[in-house]
Symmetry: D2
Subunit: 380 residues, 4 copies
């Protein structure tokens, strides 16, 4: 219960520190029969790994994943999948100084307050590097969702003052820019802004938007099991996220009901087709202020969420803090740090969204007695 | 796993529909020895109940709570506390029409999509009335937290365009205004705006801010057990909430690191006092952009969160939707509905915050081996 | 986490004390669409209730169940089902003396040790009366299992020295005798033995066997999620149970492998029929030493378990114990007590078995990717 | 939720197959500050590992454990501890034949029935080798319990017909004999019996007893959270266990209440000492039929449980079964197999007992309001 396990049926447990021997994740509850190899996971880890552009830390980590269990002859067996990523670039000497003081904006002080001491090398468990395990598990969830017809894609919506609106974007374009903005112009402007920040020994924040297509209506549970509640937890649990929005998000507080309600409608041709079927009416919505979730349950339209990410706390400008002896001191942080967290966190938001959705989809398979009867009673 | 249970140690399970026989909650894991009577809980339920002012539904519910178990001779026994609230005003006839169509902005369609049919009387389980169980359980959590020196207080920060800043406010003032704004001027403006909305057969949204004082540093767990992740889930699980912010929230995405980092310091007098003690340095922060949480763990400063609440979806203006037969129709909702959800949800935000904090505080009691040894080894 | 919640998907939370206002249970995760009324549950509660024969306590409790939520127009809605049983016979005066000492064989001392004080009226939460909530929830699970073709039936296998072997018995016969032995001769002998015990102011123990038919192969999970592990927990959690056996149980420790292994075989006619189907071979076993579970997963044969129940600890003979002041004293318990726990616990064993099986069956519905694809991908 | 996670606060997740790359466990919720190195764990793994005597499989596995995370500068940090054991002896060729049929007494058929296919090399996840992860995690729990004054020790009580009574035994003697019987005579007799079994190409079962000293009264929760229910689950989840007993176990079903009740008493000298203290009376019991648990909560006396272990299902004598094509065939199993499971499972029972007890002890730390107040309120 130190908080490293997530999910009800598709359950993951991550472990590992920034500068320990390795990081990893155990996935318990993965359905049997999924074709899975290291390559399926590596492609997602590569999107997160450092050292890929001028705006990420030059620290080099190959982040090679190894499947240790749960896969036999190329397919998942239904038993736990253990994924291991060895740490290779462990310059702990860089961090010797940090042991003596609390870095502002970091978890140094709170870990000390909780545990009585801390692993001070690179943030230990509180490092952003912890998300490698999430991304590895998310890759498996994303592959299963794809087989179910659900796609999850995130992109950088804003870096500092540079913002784009990309309700429809080419997901492959996200990987093509260093900022993960699927828009070359915005990418250039954002890159220029980031250089400016770096010159000022400063950092900046940004926004990640995640869009889900193909999710059927009916996913999520009432009350505390609401799909948006699960997503809020999953996304807020990413280190630097300080706000989570669903659909219109913060705008709803200044909207009126007539503006914010999404009208339902049926397309005539489709009605006839469905009326004879057991799955009910193919209800659609004229707008999507709700972001695809009503009463905590998916409504069949596009799911939209946004995460607001704080600026990298490790800045090179002088800062005031406290040392071990309780003395007020001024520090200048050294080392290798991204000037913005957002681009590398895009794939983490995708992963957390996918993990939450898949688990909810699995729970939903027992929502009706007719589902149980169809599953267990031999057909006549 | 239909989502009605929340918490790890202090675990609550709510139940009940808007127009069923009753609503309630079972609290499992409440520590033994707490002095508790119906009055302790009733005072919170009274803050949530309808029919109290011109801006809430005239539906009358006394919302009288009955303690059915878990309390003996005025004190909690450590066994489950069952709390019951009978529904008294069940005019189901009002709702007969709704059975035939899907109300925009409501969960009518998504419940049908999930379960194959729905309790159409007053929203059933998806009604805001479901929160009565949360508030009753929250009252118990709030009482325990108070005994631990922690206070939780929420207020209406905004209704439509009328907004206030109340980092320091008188919590008793919150209950004095119908809007739950602790500011008479703002309350008047907001009330005028609400009347306008009602005249236009419309509704509006708003913002609730919740402030926690006295929470020690060290509460919350890393990774998925982060305190802010738990709070985001708890608050987003309240029906109409579409965004959750911690501390500076959405502003962090446009801030720089030098602006957003909170500098640490020690007050000289206090240092001397603590240096000899085992509890570590009394570290403070010059600012509180973080809202009291760093790396998912409380930092000892004030905890601040905000919920953005959508406008009441039940508006009296004509709306487009779909009926049972798949026909596109126009409807006009009748009945008794609040023009704004915010004022009655203030106490729900308080309750959800308290439930999350107390559970995290209980988990934290096993975070160090020295705590176990101190608890179990007889003192010499 | 005071232990009153059980189950992963079909999750129940019981509450209530022997002499409180009421007892009850909340079922969360019950599939929608089950036809359910009070009568479905009452029939099981009636099998458990006291005052029905010479060998049960003369205390009269009508144990009338009331459905407070989760059922609409006669069918479950998928939301929590709250079941309430009011206590009617609360002669607390009977128990005033017990407050001052610890009854041997009861939980009086351990509750005091844990919580610092206890509800001393009739054992409070540790009373066998607590099982009413389990039986009410079990009735719902049993109804669902029946719709899936699974039947669960328990009977009294032994009372003191009187034992029967009833691998095949008429379940309706179980309810016909006061001992719940489906054998009139054994019932007479057991009844005579019980009278003897009562005359000696003593009590006795016994054995309950539970038999499940129709459970398909594949239910249960490896390692800690083993079906037998879940059953062991569920059955051992019944107050007076001190041992649980699966299949041959304790006999396996003196058996050899060649005796204990169950040979597999296929019936020739059936093979042809199945070979073309996707469900695999219809493998059967020549014997059933395993009791229907191999490696923690059901093997498609009859599931067999046994619970060993200790004698009623409340005996009228003089006993030695300790009072509040730490004085060693002799006591004579008064009041209304069954001379044997077994007959009224038969339906509790059935309930606990059903709850465990249904939850495992629901979990199993997500064990293969092909199940998810079949559920979510529209048929072409 | 494929069942590989156990525990509420001290939570473990095991993973790995018999012939995969590695096995391991992640411990989440281990308190910070425990001194821990590989050697602390290795000593327990060495007690479980194969190839140590004439009565265990000659398969050689060094079972070297590696700590990958959660320990910094020799102490646990409070974050997940990942333990890895590489498989070194993977003669998968031995197992090629097994792929084509179902071994009696094994989980081959049930895994196929559940997952649609199986890892047939050495039993995959259903292999006894899976318990390496449990033992590694158990070693950590045992070390913590020891620091709390609680000791857990198991021994072989019976192998086939050879049985001993060892309520008081020298735990170091357990490791000295190949049978894990702390009695040289019995060890010789049991060894002779095992040789006989091996000559007959057969195997045999046995009994493991586990004894816990130093456990304070008050551990465990009512209803489903009973300490004996948790222990029953934990021990029954060990592959070959078919029955679990607490205290007098199966004997209670033929005992009378006057025989089975344990009288309470106070020692006079001790009373005086305690009467002034807040911890209550030092109540003791004259006998211990209950095995240290009353009403699911520890009573402060010795905790006693027994596991009945079935004979090794892999025997070399000819057996009847079914092959892939549904043909009834006769097989002769080859390979490397222990003639009895018991000696290597002794340390597994210890581990499972320790894991359950530690988790219950941690939960108990929040059972009273006074504990929370003492923990959180600064002393005056």
């Amino acid at each position: 219960m130190a908080g490293s396990t997530l999910g009800n049926i598709f359950k993951i447990t991550t472990w590992g520190e920034s500068h320990g021997k390795a990081l990893g994740v155990v996935i318990d509850g993965c359905p049997a029969g999924l074709s899975l190899c290291e390559g399926d996971i590596q492609v997602y880890l590569d999107r997160r790994k450092p050292g890929q552009s001028a705006i990420t830390t030059p620290r080099k980590e190959s982040d090679q994943v190894e499947i240790l269990s749960g896969v036999f002859e190329g397919r998942t067996t239904g038993t736990p999948i253990s994924l291991l990523i060895r740490n290779t670039s462990q310059k702990s000497s860089d961090y010797s100084e940090i042991a003596s003081y609390y870095r502002p904006g970091h978890a140094d002080y709170t870990f000390d307050a909780k545990y009585g001491f801390r692993d001070y090398t690179g943030g230990g468990r509180s490092s952003g590097r912890e998300t490698a395990g999430r991304v590895a598990a998310g890759a498996v969830a994303l592959k299963i969702l794809k087989e179910m017809g659900v796609t999850v894609a995130a992109y950088t919506k804003a870096i500092g003052p540079v913002s784009i609106d990309a309700a429809r974007f080419d997901i492959t374009a996200v990987s093509r820019t260093a900022t993960c903005m699927p828009d070359t112009d915005a990418d250039k402007k954002a890159s220029a802004y980031l250089k400016e920040c770096m010159m000022k020994k400063d950092s900046c924040g940004g926004i990640i938007e995640c869009i889900v297509n193909g999710l059927p209506a009916g996913i999520g549970d009432p009350v505390f099991g609401k799909l948006d509640a699960g997503l809020a937890k999953a996304v807020m649990s990413i280190g630097a996220v300080k706000a989570v929005e669903i659909g219109d998000g913060i705008s709803v507080s200044t909207a009126t009901g007539s503006e914010n309600n999404d009208a339902f409608f049926c397309e005539e041709g489709i009605i006839r087709q469905y009326c004879a079927s057991r799955t009910g009416l193919p209800v659609k919505k004229k707008t999507n202020h709700a972001g695809g979730i009503l009463g905590g349950i998916s409504d069949g339209s596009q799911l939209v969420l946004r995460a607001h990410v704080k600026p990298t706390p490790s800045i090179f400008a002088p800062q005031e803090t406290v040392n071990k002896n309780g003395e007020n001191i001024q520090i200048e942080i050294k080392g290798r740090h991204d000037p913005v967290i957002v681009p590398r966190a895009v794939v983490v938001v995708e992963a957390m969204t996918a993990l939450t959705l898949l688990d909810a989809c699995m729970l939903n398979m027992t929502a009706r007695l007719e589902y149980l009867k169809k599953f267990y009673l031999p057909e006549k």
